[in-house]
């Protein structure tokens, strides 16, 4: 197996002019997902693999960055995702340009290639298989019930859904699996949310993006350090103990490696499901007949419907790869060092794959959405857990508060996560 050990720099050699259909501007990412898709639709039709100027207002701008290839068609996103020998992750996976010290603290195996990626991922992957998630199904159901218990009787019949419901369930499940004690859970959740909020002016509250990210990553490393010390002394039946005991080539993982692992999973395991459930209660408000269809046979229909929850929400909007061998994509010549950015929400609205892509259609089947990635070795490890959590949460909501109505979401300003900061949510209180 060949491993690229040397960094291959990007070059502007033989590149066309930057595309006039621009997806790098700050203004573009300040729009709603529906507005952005109009431009993605233009690219899908006219220039499916377009050469774009560097992302505007990068956190850590690179004066030598020549730009990137924007990949917006479903088939091309799948092709790049599944060919990790041509398109590697080891030279970075985020669309925005972020400070290297932050990336080192937060990305772990997400930004690695085989064989180290495969080794680190397998340290925990068996805890996320369908059989193992099914084994904790009862625990997931109890957690979902208790989260909804927390507000269902609220006499006002109104809550802020993102913080009072959507975030609570995935945070609890993540912390249970990793063995994060109760007193550290709120802090863990807040830092995980901060990590993806670097481009949101409200979340920044006067801090720079680098400050908010490094601060949150350092706090999470601090929490990890406490857990590492504790599990070394008192091994337990949780994933943190797996990490502490693991050996790679006869060596234990360092505290910094375990810390980065924890940062990656705390974000991946909490934020994505939070936003998906918020965006789904909104979609069920906008498409009431879909909610009725699902309620008519929840157990029989939820498996199919879950895929549409994820396609429609598309919470993760971008990831990047870097080409390390010359290849061709969408008629364009891609050379080593070229950055290639995958726009998952665009692939999820590709009319070549999805009929009436802008419709929330819970009976859509097959539904080969890209919400968990386009396949390949980086495909979402937690997909079964996410689906288990959504299945349990919506069972509670649709049974106990079936007339709920979501208002307009307040969205996170970012080019990474389609995040919901706040979402008004009204319902007839339980008596």
């Amino acid at each position: 197996m060949t491993v690229a050990t040397e960094f291959i720099p990007a070059t502007s050699e033989d590149k066309p002019a930057h595309s006039p259909i621009d997806v790098s501007s700050k203004a573009f990412w300040a729009q709603t997902s529906e507005q952005r898709d109009q431009r993605f639709a233009q690219l899908r039709a006219q220039d499916p693999v377009s050469w774009q100027r560097p992302v505007e207002d990068a956190v850590a701008p690179d004066p030598h960055d020549p730009g990137y290839w924007a990949v917006v068609k479903h088939a091309d996103i799948v092709k790049v995702s599944r060919d990790s020998k041509t398109y590697i992750s080891g030279q970075g996976v985020l669309f925005d340009l972020l400070p290297p010290e932050f990336l080192e603290m937060s990305q772990s195996f997400l930004a690695m290639d085989a064989p180290k990626h495969d080794y680190l991922r397998k340290l925990i992957s068996s805890a996320f298989t369908p059989r193992r998630i099914q084994r904790i199904d009862e625990q997931i159901k109890v957690a979902a019930r208790e989260v909804v218990d927390g507000f269902a009787g609220n006499p006002a019949g109104e809550i802020e859904f993102a913080s009072e419901c959507a975030q609570k369930l995935p945070v609890r499940l993540f912390c249970d699996m990793f063995g994060v004690p109760d007193e550290l859970r709120e802090q863990t959740a807040r830092c995980a949310a901060d990590i993806v909020s670097w481009a949101d002016s409200e979340a920044l509250a006067g801090r720079t993006p680098a400050q908010i990210q490094l601060g949150a990553a350092e706090t999470l490393h601090g929490i990890a350090a406490r857990l590492i010390a504790d599990r070394r002394a008192n091994p337990a039946d949780d994933l943190f103990t797996n990490l502490v005991q693991a050996e790679v080539d006869g060596q234990h993982l360092t505290d910094a490696e375990i810390g980065a692992f924890f940062v990656l999973l705390s974000v991946a395991g909490t934020d994505t499901t939070k936003h998906t459930s918020s965006l789904t209660v909104k979609a069920m408000t906008d498409f009431p007949e879909q909610r009725d269809w699902l309620r008519a046979d929840y157990d029989g229909r939820i498996k199919t419907a879950l895929e549409e929850f994820v396609r429609f929400a598309s919470p993760v909007m971008t990831f990047r790869r870097t080409a390390v061998v010359e290849t061709e994509l969408g008629g364009k010549r891609i050379i080593p060092g070229d950055k290639v950015v995958l726009f998952y929400p665009s692939g999820n609205r590709d009319a070549d794959v999805f009929a009436d892509p802008e419709c929330f259609d819970l009976s859509r089947d097959p539904n080969p959405h890209l919400g968990f990635g386009g396949g390949g070795t980086h495909f979402c490890l937690g997909n079964q857990l996410a689906k288990g959590a959504l299945r349990a949460l919506f069972s509670e909501l649709l049974t106990r508060l079936p007339d709920f109505e979501a208002g307009e979401p307040d969205l996170l300003g970012t080019n990474f996560m389609r995040g919901v900061k706040r979402l008004p949510f009204r319902f007839t209180p339980e008596r």
């Binding site: 599944r82 495969d118 991922r121 397998k122 992957s125 068996s126 996320f128 298989t129 369908p130 059989r131 968990f372 990635g373 396949g375 390949g376 070795t377 495909f379 490890l381 997909n383 079964q384």
Partner: protein
């Protein structure tokens, strides 16, 4: 019909296990165990669904 696993491609995600729990089981070390390498025609549909579901294209069905 025979199930062939490309071990270099398999990441032990278990999407196959969700589609065909009688045919596949991911072990605690992350490796994939094929419970029945030569399923009968009665299991063809689930075997095919498992092959289709694999995000790393690690599974193939070979007709002997």
């Amino acid at each position: 019909m025979r199930i062939v696993v490309d071990r270099d491609k398999c990441t032990g995600l278990g999407m196959c296990e969700a589609e065909a729990p009688d045919l596949f089981e991911v072990q605690d070390d992350g490796s994939l165990k094929v419970l029945n390498e030569q399923p009968g025609d009665g299991q063809r549909e689930e075997a095919e669904a498992a092959v289709m579901s694999c995000p790393t294209e690690a599974l193939t069905l070979v007709e002997d």
